[in-house]
Symmetry: C2
Subunit: 187 residues, 2 copies
């Protein structure tokens, strides 16, 4: 039942956005009785929170290409490709839009991103072990710096994001890490 | 009159967000008659568009420290400090939130950001002339890469942005530009 309700929540989000999300529509779409959805999830916020919690628990297919350049580019391609995907893109965009407007949606989304940073940071730690990056690099900051330009183009400046843009942002983060400016002590 | 209506629009945005913005409240706050506001600006979207157009025309105090490192840090401090400012921060956040949700608000905001990129790119072009950066650097991409982590923390991952975070993001963009990965041809 949890999976059915989650799938219905995501489909409704993709179609109508956070503002158009209703418990009634999720109940109808999932085939779960409305009173059950209300009892277990409480509200639209509860549905979104649970969907993000399930997403957070899913392992992310972090690339392992054998070199940090390919790994960081792989992460950025996952992000760029996710938003470009006709099925997943609208859901992901709806989550970000909801978080910008609704504090209740923001909390679980932020937890989701912290979990993603942590998972993705493994590629940086592996690179340190291989001697590709300085030992004192802030692994999660490398990930933030790598992915940030994708989100900036999509949600702030409103510019398209090509695969080349995603690769370039990954390469920029790597160059910064190699130059030693991404240590945890700050600049 | 235009300035009074704009000031009222920004104050209402800061207090109530885009969703709470009404022509009536802007009229009352500005002391301009409601029918005049309707006739000249048409709607909430018209008010926001005009406020952003006026902001776009204002020159941005682009720093000129004599070296690209200080200039890029200066730009990032302007962005970080702007959002942290108790008066301007809520207005700026309301614009970004509106653009994520409302296509009519997105168009003028995107034009505003393209204009900011263009203005800020002067510090990069100056650096090329001084020989601090390779001649084939994409000046506007350096700016995007520099500022993106600030917006990413504020609007996506929901993490605080310190002055040290802003400096580090500027330094990262500079390291990438120096390493030659930000040429217009892409990676």
């Amino acid at each position: 039942m949890r999976a059915a309700v989650r799938a219905a929540t995501l489909a409704e989000l993709a179609e109508h956005g956070y503002k158009g999300l209703t418990v009634e529509a999720v109940a109808e779409r999932s085939g779960v009785h409305k009173t059950t959805v209300y009892r277990r999830w409480g509200s639209v916020e509860g549905l979104v929170e649970d969907a993000l919690e399930q997403a957070r628990e899913e392992p992310w297919p972090i690339p392992d290409t054998g070199a940090v350049e390919g790994d960081l580019r792989g992460i950025n391609r996952l992000v760029q490709g996710g938003f470009a995907d006709p099925e997943h893109g609208p859901v992901a965009s709806a989550f970000v839009a909801a978080a910008v407007q609704e504090p209740q949606a923001a909390r679980p989304l932020h937890a989701f991103f912290l979990s993603r940073h942590e998972q993705a940071a493994h590629v940086v730690r592996r690179a340190v072990q291989r001697g590709e990056l300085p030992a004192d690099v802030d692994a999660e900051e490398v990930i933030r710096i790598a992915v940030a330009p994708i989100y900036y183009r999509l949600f702030v400046s409103g510019e398209p994001v090509t695969e080349a843009d995603a690769d370039r942002a990954a390469d920029a983060a790597l160059a910064a890490a190699k130059a030693g400016v991404l240590s945890p002590r700050g600049p």
